[in-house]
C-alpha cells in the first residue's frame, strides 16, 4: 500500500514551476564522434547555466541548460569551433554566461595577474637572501 502511494506521489511530483515540454534531443545524447563530444563537453563545462546559481550547463538539470547543451552539440556537429560557439552565447547573454573571462579590457588584468604576483613575490622575498653587512 505504501509503495503504491509512493508511486502515485512520484508521478504527481511537481516540476518546479518551469513548465513541461519535450527535452531537446541533443541535450542528453552524446555526439557519435568521441572527439567532437569531448570538445562539446569541455565547452559545456565552461558555460554557465543562466537559470541556476552557479552550475555549468554540463552539471545542471534546468530546462534552459538542456536547451543550451543541445545548441552546443548541434553547432559542434555542424563544424563550428568551440570559441565561436562561446562567442555566440556571449552575444546573447553577455560575458556572464562564460566561465572563462575574455582576454580583453579588465579581463586582461585577470589573466596577467598570476605572473605579476609571482614576480612581485620573488622581488619581495629577495630581501631575505641579502647578506648581513
Amino acid at each position: 500500500m505504501k509503495l503504491i502511494a509512493a508511486s502515485i506521489l512520484l508521478l504527481a511530483a511537481p516540476v518546479f514551476a518551469q513548465g513541461t515540454g519535450p527535452t531537446p534531443e541533443l541535450a542528453n545524447r552524446q555526439l557519435p564522434d568521441p572527439a567532437q563530444e569531448a570538445t562539446a563537453t569541455k565547452l559545456m563545462h565552461g558555460l554557465r547555466c543562466i537559470q541556476c546559481q552557479g552550475q555549468s550547463i554540463a552539471d545542471s538539470d534546468a530546462p534552459m541548460a538542456a536547451t543550451m547543451r543541445a545548441e552546443v552539440r548541434q553547432q559542434i556537429s555542424a563544424g563550428q569551433a568551440p570559441e565561436a560557439i562561446r562567442q555566440w552565447m556571449i552575444e546573447r547573454y553577455g560575458e556572464w554566461v562564460s566561465f572563462e573571462p575574455e582576454m580583453k579590457g579588465a579581463g586582461l588584468i585577470l589573466w596577467a595577474m598570476p605572473l605579476l604576483v609571482l614576480l612581485i613575490a620573488f622581488w619581495l622575498a629577495r630581501g631575505l637572501f641579502r647578506r648581513r653587512t
Binding site: 542528453n28 552539471d59 554566461v97 604576483v117 609571482l118 622575498a125 631575505l128 647578506r131
Partner: protein, 643 residues
Amino acid sequence: MMAEAGLAALWLAAAMALLQFAGGLTLMRGGAGQLTPLIKPAAIVQGALCIFSFFALMYLFTITDLSVLLVASNSHIDKPMIFKLAGTWGNHEGSMLLWVTILSVSGAAIALIEKRIDTRTLQVTLAVQAFIALGFFAFLLFSSNPFERLLPAPAQGAGLNPLLQDIGLAFHPPTLYFGYVGLSVAFSFAVAAMLTRQIGPAFARAMRPWVLGAWIFLTLGITAGSYWAYYELGWGGWWFWDPVENASLMPWLAATALLHSVSVLATRNALRAWTVMLALVAFAMSMAGTFLVRSGILTSVHAFAVDPKRGSFILALMLIYTSLAFVIFALRIGTVKQGEPFQLLSREGGIVANNIFLSVILAVVLIGTLYPLAAEAMGDKISVGPPYFNKTTAPIALLLMLALLLGPMLRWRRDDIKRHKYWLVGFFAIILWSGVALWKYAPNIGIFPMLGLAFALALAVAAWVPLKGRKLLRTPLPVFGMVIAHFGLAVSVFGMASESGFSKETLTALAPGESAKVAGWQVKLVDVNPVVGDNWVAIEGEMRARTGGKSFVLRPQSRQFFQPEMQTSEAALLTRWNGQLYAVIAQPDENGDGRWQVRLWWKPFVSFIWLGGVLVALGGLIALLGRMFRRAKKPAKNRWSEA
C-alpha cells in the same frame, strides 16, 4: 528551562571574555594589575560555560523542543536522530555558537596546557583570544540568539535541507570550524608576540601545534567537502572553484604556508616577520571566507541561508580584527631584528619558495573570486570559473611540486646542489619517461594532466628520500609526518590528473533490459522501482555492471523529499582499485517512451584524490603527536634538526 540556562551561560561566558580583555589591556598599559591573575582562570571558566551552552542547544535539538525558534525552523520530529544532532550546527545561529564554543575551549586549553612561553605573552594571547570571542558573543547575544523562544510552539517543525541529511555533510562544518578557530589561536599568539616583543623560537613552538591542528582539520574538512560534492550532487565533479569552496581553500593555503614558516622559526629562528604575517593572513582568510559564504554578495551553488545583515556584522568584526592586527604589524615588525641568515639553496630557501608559490595561488584564488564583484561595480557582469582557475593555478602548483622534489633534501642554512645531483637526475628521468609514455599513448589528455601525472610519480618517490640512510626506529615522528604528507600530496595530484585526463562518460536513455557501454564496462538497466525512505520517495534503478567476467549491482536513485520539497540525485558508486564507476539515473523526460535518462562515468584512480587528502592530514597528525610526545623525552640527535 534548558534554553534559558544555555542563554545565561552564554552571557556569563561573554562576561569572562570581557574580564580577560580588560586584564590584557591593563597588562599592556602598565604591567600586572588586579585583573591580571584572573585572566587564566577566566579563560577556563569561559570554556566550560560555552561547552554547557552548546550542549544545552544540542539537547534541545535532540528532544526536538519546538518551543525554541531555532529548533522549529531547522528540525522536524521525523528526522533521524543523527541529523537532529547535526541540526544543532546546521544553521546560522547554531554554527556561530559552535564557533564561539571552540574559540573559548581553545582559550581554556591554552590557559591550562601552555608552558613554553612567558606568562606575560600567554596572558596577552588569552586577552586577544577573548577580544575575538567578544565580537562573536556580541553577534550571538544581540542579533543571532540561538535560544530564542517561539510561542505557541508548532506541531512539527520546518525540517532540515535534504542535502544536509547526509553524514559527510553533517560533520563538514564542525571540521572546518575547528580549522578556522585554530587559526584564530595562531592569530592571537602572533598579535601577543608582537605586543610583548617575543617573536622567537619559543613563541613559534607554542603556536605550532595549534597551526598544525587547525591545518589538519582544514585538510580533512576540504577533502570531506569535496568528496561529499562528488557523490551527493550527482555530476561527478569534485571541485568547481565555487566562491564557497574557494572560501575554504584560501585559509588552507595560508595555513600550509604558515605551517612551514613556523617550523623554520621554531628550529632556525628565521622568517620572523613572514611567520607573523602569515598567521595574520591565515585568520583574515578564515574570517573573509566566513563572511563571503554568509553575505550573499557572490553567486554560489552552495545556497547558504544568506542575509546581508549578518554579513555586515561579520564584515565589521573581520575588518576590526585584521586592521588592528596589521596596524600593530606595521608598527612593531620594523623593530624586529632579522633572524639567522641563510642562502638561496637551503632548506629555508626551499620553504620560502614553497611559501611564495602558495601565496601566489592564494592571491590568484582571492582575486579571481572577488573579481566579479569589482567588475559589477564598473557595470560589467562577468563570470570567473573553472577554466580560469584551472589554467592559472595549475602551472604554479606544478612549480610547487618541482620545488618539493628537492626541498626536503636540502640542508639548513646552506647547501650545495652537487650533493643532490643523482637524485635530481633520477627525478628528471621519471618525469621524462612518464611524460614521453603519456605523450605516446595518450596524446589527447592535455598538458596539465600529463605534467601532473609525471610530477606526481616523481614526488611519490621523492617524498621518501628524507628517510634514506636513517635508522627508522630512531627517526623522529615529525619526519615521518612530513614524508607521509608529501606522499599524500603526490597521491592526490595523481588522482586529480588521472581523473581529468582519463575519465570517460556515457550519456544515454535506457529502457529496462537495455545496456550501455562505458570504458570497458557493460552496464545493463535491469529494472526501475519506486522506493520509500524516512522522509522521501525515490525511483531506484537496478543496474548490472560487467567487466572482464565480473558482475556488480548498482542502485542509483532519484529522490523526492517532502519537507522541504526538493529533488536530489543519489549516485551509485562502485569502487575498484583502479577507479570508480559512477552511475546516475534521472526522472524520465517528457518524451514518454519508457526510457530513463542514465549517465555513467568511469573515473580512473579518482579515489586517490581524497585518499591523498587523508594521507596529508594523517602526516600532519603524526607530526603533531610526535611533537607532543617529544616534549616528554629528550629529542634524538640527528642531522636534520641541528640548529
